[in-house]
């Protein structure tokens, strides 16, 4: 899942640095992920993983690192399955 997240990040995150230089726990906002880019990222993740972010999960916390994105996606999948 992380490699797919990284792929989406490199295409839609508009990061000023190569995603490969960041660890899974590095802060994406500190690395230059803007608010508008995080919106594009969210929509690209929704398409790539066939999920829909609920309103309460549309915030910076859930896009703060590769691991945070993965945790959010797993939570959304769990909630969708429930």
């Amino acid at each position: 899942m992380k490699s797919k997240i990284r792929e989406v990040l490199s295409k839609h995150g508009r990061l000023p640095v190569d995603i490969a230089t960041l660890s899974d726990s590095d802060d994406l906002h500190a690395a230059g992920l803007t608010s508008f880019a995080s919106v594009e990222l969210m929509m690209a993740l929704e398409e790539a993983f066939d999920i829909e972010y609920p309103n309460q999960m549309m915030n910076r916390r859930h896009f703060s690192s590769v691991t945070a994105i993965e945790n959010a996606l797993m939570k959304i999948r769990q909630d969708m399955a429930a």
Partner: protein
């Protein structure tokens, strides 16, 4: 004390002639008395902020369409934007146009976009002007703006006009410089409005970003406490109206327009905005429709 809570505020304002009906919700004429209140409030803002030495600029209520497109406004607020179109056809097209108008048909399909759009917020005109000047000085920059602004949100609430005036102070500089500016105005704004004897609260806020993706922008704006509003109950106590706003844009406009500090860093910006009509409406709501009867202390602040 609220002098007109038992009346519908819009009806009351129209009855007293302070607002003049045009047949379109949110588009009103203003009486001389209403304008006088707006001018007095404008002068009060200058008394509080003029000492900082801002560069004063005034623009007509329209901006360069290319600048508008680059600003990103359409990403966030496509539903509020107002664009200016004009007839650009030949004589045959003119005849068709007149026939369509005469028949009550849609005559706007042949209209072409012009090079101007209506100003959505007073400061949108400013950023490309500042960018053109080159890097900021070490002190950054401070501007004083006022403009009629357009937002397409017709409403029966007099506080939600489609064309209204916004006064702004806009600060450019380092993150420390602009956040200090905003902190100063958060204090000043409350002291200034306390002088006017209206009830208010300060709260974290978000802009009305469009659509589902906009929910994310709104949540981020709130989480980061980028926008505060000074809210006054005007239409109702339950839904108070934002009359002043205190905004920290971070590097959004600096990076959009390539504005830099002397060190080559992307400039940060912040602004304080004053809703001129909204404050006037708050004064009429809370002190009554006859300005001669407003409390002496309030009259002194505005007319001394």
């Amino acid at each position: 004390m609220c002098q007109s809570c038992t009346n519908n505020l819009l009806d009351n304002l129209l009855k007293h002639g302070h607002l003049i009906d045009t047949g379109v919700d949110g588009l009103y004429g203003r009486s001389g008395v209403f304008e006088d209140v707006v001018m007095r409030f404008d002068a009060l803002i200058t008394r509080w902020g003029g000492g900082d030495g801002p560069e004063v600029m005034r623009f007509p209520p329209a901006m360069n369409r290319k600048h508008f497109e680059k600003s990103g406004y359409l990403k966030s607020f496509p539903h509020l934007a107002g664009t200016v179109h004009s007839f650009a056809g030949d004589e045959k097209a003119h005849a068709n146009l007149l026939e369509q108008v005469g028949n009550g048909e849609d005559w706007t399909l042949g209209q072409k976009s012009t090079e101007v759009v209506l100003t959505p917020a007073a400061c949108y005109v400013l950023y490309p002007v500042v960018a053109k000047r080159g890097p900021l000085s070490g002190e950054g920059a401070l501007f004083d703006l006022q403009s009629y602004c357009f937002r397409h949100e017709p409403s029966k609430e007099p506080t939600r006009m489609q064309l209204f005036r916004m006064r702004e102070y806009v600060r450019f500089g380092t993150p420390d410089q602009v956040t200090e500016f905003r902190a100063t105005w958060l204090e000043r704004g409350q002291k200034m409005m306390a002088e006017l004897g209206v009830p208010f609260d300060l709260d974290v806020a978000n802009d009305p970003f469009f659509g589902r993706a906009g929910r994310m922008l709104a949540n981020n704006q709130r989480d980061q406490r980028l926008k505060f509003e000074l809210l006054i109950p005007i239409n109702s106590v339950e839904s108070p109206t934002a009359c002043l706003s205190f905004n920290y844009h971070q590097d959004h406009f600096g990076s959009t327009w390539g504005i830099q500090t002397p060190d080559g860093e992307v400039a940060h910006t912040a602004c304080v905005g004053f809703g001129m009509e909204r404050v006037a409406l708050a004064l009429f709501k809370h002190h009554g429709m006859n300005v001669e009867n407003w409390p002496a202390a309030i009259r002194k602040v505005l007319w001394s």
